[in-house]
Symmetry: C2
Subunit: 231 residues, 2 copies
Amino acid sequence: VAGLLTAWAIVVAAGDGARLGADRPKAFVALGDRVLLAHSVELLDDHPAIDGIVLVVPAGWEEPASLLADDLAAGKVAAAVAGGATRANSVAAGLAEVPDTADLILVHDAARPFASAELVSAVLTALGDADGAVPGVPVTDTIKRVQGGRVAETPDRSQLVAVQTPQAFVAPALRRAYAQPADVVAAATDCASLVETAGGAVAVVPGEAANIKITTAADLENARERAGARG
Amino acid sequence: VAGLLTAWAIVVAAGDGARLGADRPKAFVALGDRVLLAHSVELLDDHPAIDGIVLVVPAGWEEPASLLADDLAAGKVAAAVAGGATRANSVAAGLAEVPDTADLILVHDAARPFASAELVSAVLTALGDADGAVPGVPVTDTIKRVQGGRVAETPDRSQLVAVQTPQAFVAPALRRAYAQPADVVAAATDCASLVETAGGAVAVVPGEAANIKITTAADLENARERAGARG
């Protein structure tokens, strides 16, 4: 569906990187020959289905983010804005910068620098018959729901997926999702769950094992080895 | 509770290591200066609350497992038996070797070589007011339940844990759990879920970030770096 429609991307890069133990926001730590954020900017700027990009960064880092985009000659980057208190608040800040002409909106975490162009295509394509689409990978650990220190439920692992970004949405569905009450929005751990609570249908496409999320210093070290191995 | 009661441990080491890409069963790949299985045998043999140990290994590897126990002077190892088609079948094979005098039974995956003695103590101690106890760590990914390629539910991530081993049980509760119909037993991804379906109460204690499960070649490489760093 993406070819004929206008698609914008929001890159969420507003984390402070506290769990990373770095001296700067996570998006600006080095990974290979570039900073973390640059990997996602290049991925989306190079993707033929993406028409415009909004970067969401920590307050005070809008200017470095814009300079980075210039440096990468990433002409699709239209804005770099400050994020909010939670991930969802940061997405909302990015969403406010996406023009009304966008038919599709993709949201990607800069903390996942190894997402492929194929995965971007896959979530956009899945919007042909859904309001949203997310990549999911099988869960390897047994997951339990806990209440009061006791196991309340062990959901059937074969039905569970761990979801990644990029996540793609039909624009009105995403805007409706973020128009829900502020406390509902602030607590969401991914965009898709807000679309779901707003009544939207979300498809799951196969995620990528390589599409890891960088949270801890150990994650970053692994990612650096991988980036180095790529040349 | 463990001090006055008899506690046996079952070490589940029957995986073929197919996802590891090794030329031998996972339990017998090298990790640091020992094989993977040796880490769990030493942990449990050295633990004052553990009175006996049963090893469950791939068919044909019972003898190497017994020799390994001799080599480690792990005098609590009472048997090494062949596992079954699934993890739960392997636990059942081990359970058949645990004497009726055992009051508490601990089940541990050899694929988790970095579990601490404190964690063994913690799950045993938690049996003071539960039928079972498992270590759980917070889930960092958003988890969704999928049906027919669509998201059916996004459970509140703050209520979810990813569970680890060692898991500890009051012996009658574990035996009742494994006395359930064969198809129920075979499908279980952890012992606790069978105890839950048999009506038992399972406590969750804090797990350990270092207590990783070795599944893939990348996991093994990370573990080898960690084992090397320990000296």
